[in-house]
């Protein structure tokens, strides 16, 4: 184990997989000479060279589209989108090609590609640059959508994504890059795709979260503990496939749940997870499931308004108290 930031964990996963497999290469805007806008690929260009660390023009459709084509020939591209907001420029390739070609041609070829993208708000980047539209991509069968909430998971999940035969959208959160944690050194340390994980055990209330909302949920759980309440925090880690087993197992013990996401509530992760709780564990429901999410407004630049719109740790704490009193 080594203590490192999530940025280092992601960087390490990429580095190790590139060392391990010649077919793995990176392409995207500013991934090479600049060293990655978020410094994730710092040093890669000098070490791996321009063949495997490919700076692209600002052309998201071509970045994703050509990665799909290269994957069709047996390569394992990691295409980086500077932020997930620019994925909309590449939407057709993500939705109509990456998610469908394997199925549509009867499984004749595979698309072992990873698309990395930074999601999330809270940095005063304005409405077009602050979105958390993760769930939109999870709507499409054929695409896997993964988003880690701890440095260790970031490493293990990204390595699995790169080794996966399927196209994976790997969503990072810029405000988590500095988050520190213990990360296994093992070069074959893999976390399975499509498996939720209990990040904290407790019997009183189930808090379901992923990505940036995991540390927020853990903090809220600490606050609840001071009140004598033991919250269990389940980290989805993957939005598709969605693994409900640990959620349901937890809910059957606690009978109460709060679902947290950074994005908007309508048609969101909370909607999906709570519906599944009602489908799978209706008899165990002691209180209506609560959802904590972003206010339904395009995020404003002004810091005060932006924070007002974003879900906060206190909101999770209060929601948990409410489901317990309900």
């Amino acid at each position: 184990m080594t203590r490192m930031t999530m940025r280092e964990a992601i960087s390490k996963a990429l580095w190790e997989e590139m060392e391990r497999d010649e077919r793995v290469f990176i392409q995207g805007e500013e991934v090479g000479v600049w060293g990655g806008t978020y410094a994730v690929t710092k040093g890669f260009y000098d070490h791996f060279g321009e063949k495997r660390v490919r700076d692209t023009p600002i052309a998201e459709a071509a970045i994703v589209g050509s990665a799909i084509g290269a994957a069709m020939t047996g390569l394992r591209p990691v295409a980086e989108l500077m932020t997930i907001n620019f994925a909309f420029v590449a939407m057709d390739h993500i939705v109509n090609e990456a998610a469908k070609l394997h199925y549509m041609f009867g499984g004749q070829f595979t698309l072992p590609l990873v698309i990395r993208a930074v999601s999330g708000g809270g940095r005063q980047l304005g409405a077009t640059h602050s979105q958390s539209p993760d769930v939109i991509f999870a709507h499409f069968p054929g695409l896997k959508v993964v988003s880690p909430g701890t440095p260790a998971d970031a490493k293990g999940l990204l390595k699995s994504a790169i080794r996966s035969e399927d196209p994976v959208l790997f969503i990072e959160n810029a405000t988590l890059y500095q988050m520190k944690g213990e990360v296994p050194d093992d070069e074959d340390y893999l976390e399975p795709l499509g498996k939720s994980k209990v990040q904290r055990e407790g019997d009183d209330v189930t808090i379901v979260a992923y990505s940036k909302m995991v540390p927020a949920a853990l903090k809220a759980a600490d606050m609840l503990a001071e009140d004598g309440i033991n919250a269990e925090v389940v980290d989805l880690r993957s939005l598709r496939p969605l693994d409900m087993d640990p959620v349901i197992a937890s809910f059957k013990r606690t009978n109460r749940a709060v679902i947290v996401e950074e994005g908007w509530r309508s048609y969101g992760v909370g909607a999906e997870v709570s519906a599944r709780i009602y489908e799978l564990a209706f008899d165990y429901v002691d209180a209506p499931v609560k959802r904590v999410a972003q206010a339904e407004v395009p995020l404003p630049y002004n810091a005060e308004l932006e924070q007002l719109a974003l879900p906060q740790t206190e909101d999770i704490y209060h929601a948990a108290k409410e489901v317990l009193n309900g």
């Binding site: 600049w34 600002i58 077009t128 007002l308 719109a309």
Partner: protein
């Protein structure tokens, strides 16, 4: 040009320069957040073009927009207040650095998705043609890097097919973030891209405001007379990083220094003195006035309040529309009331 106009043009460029230098300081102090893309080095383009833009000519640009906002006529106070996210900002504190606009001045913004505003420009021109505003030209600004995205090619093609009066202007500052034009573009001269769409085009120098002004006036008249689009590539250089916190590993200091010797403000200053339009002393006084305007803008912005929390949901829709979810904290606040 009238003497006063010549001097105003000088002052405008100095205001842009000083305001952005101040913005960089305020950014370091944490008073400005998010991204801050400085225009320093490129001022001759916004000043030159705006000095010949007619009121009916619509203007649209990308996120490097402070210079454009000021040249378009937005009060530096409203620009500074927007940078600080205050309610008196030109976008009421919602937009920030990248999203300045004042449609009364026919300035249609500051757009942060690379190239996304390019098709919009075709639509602005379509709106004018459709409504019989025969005298109007839409001026669309964009960077060299944004000519590699599909939006650009779709927008240019459409403008030619529909013969729309758009002046497409590439501000070629030679980098898209850290990527040089030759590493990102198949052709080394951006203007060549217009050839593929059968569009008239030209490359000009952008550090001399008088030259920019003259060339653009000529092209605008041509579009007004003959209709149809035209692409101008204007060579320039940004002195600062792409945004704040750019490590600038992609270029060496000597290159920046070389271009700093071509400072558009210095060039124009020399022109004004050599042609006896102004004295050094007179220009120094204008420098002081510009600085004072920036001081006042800063004071104004600092004093302006944050937008009221109750206005968070304003302007999502035009028509009265329920806000379905106000977010956890706000919903509970309203329950308490």
């Amino acid at each position: 040009m009238e003497k006063k106009e010549s001097l105003d043009l000088y002052k405008e460029m100095v205001i842009i320069r000083r305001l952005e230098e101040r913005a960089a300081e305020l950014y370091q102090l944490g008073k400005i957040g998010g991204f801050l893309h400085l225009y320093i080095g490129q001022e001759a383009i916004s000043a030159g073009i705006s000095s010949v833009r007619q009121p009916q000519d619509r203007l649209i640009t990308a996120y490097r927009d402070h210079g454009w906002a000021i040249s378009a006529g937005i009060d530096p106070k409203a620009v500074m207040a927007e940078l600080l996210g205050k309610v008196d900002g030109c976008s009421k504190g919602r937009g920030g650095s990248m999203h300045m606009a004042d449609t009364e001045l026919n300035f249609w913004g500051g757009h942060a998705i690379v190239g996304a505003h390019i098709p919009l420009a075709a639509g602005l021109a379509l709106g004018d043609v459709y409504q019989g505003n025969d005298d109007a030209v839409t001026i669309c600004m964009f960077g060299d890097g944004s000519t590699n995205i599909g939006f650009f090619h779709e927008g240019l093609n459409l403008s030619k097919v529909w013969n729309l009066p758009v002046l497409w202007v590439c501000e070629n500052n030679q980098y898209g973030m850290g990527t040089t034009v030759d590493r990102a573009s198949a052709v080394s001269e951006i203007r060549q891209k217009a050839e593929g769409y059968g569009m008239a085009n030209e490359r000009i120098e952008g550090m001399d405001v008088m030259a920019v002004r003259q060339e653009v006036a000529r092209v605008l008249e041509k579009i007004r007379k003959e209709g149809g689009p035209y692409l101008l590539e204007i060579m320039t250089y940004r002195y600062r990083g792409h945004s704040m916190g750019d490590p600038e590993r992609y270029r060496d200091k000597a290159e920046v220094k070389k271009w700093e010797e071509e400072d558009p403000i210095g060039i124009y200053r020399k022109y004004l003195i050599e042609n006896k339009i102004a004295t050094a002393k007179g220009l120094d006084e204008l420098d002081d006035e510009a600085l004072q305007i920036v001081d006042e803008a800063e004071k104004f912005a600092e004093a302006s309040p944050n937008p009221d929390k109750s206005t968070l949901f304003e302007n999502i829709y035009v028509e009265p529309t329920p806000v379905e979810y106000r977010g956890y904290a706000l919903e509970h606040e309203s329950e308490e009331q």
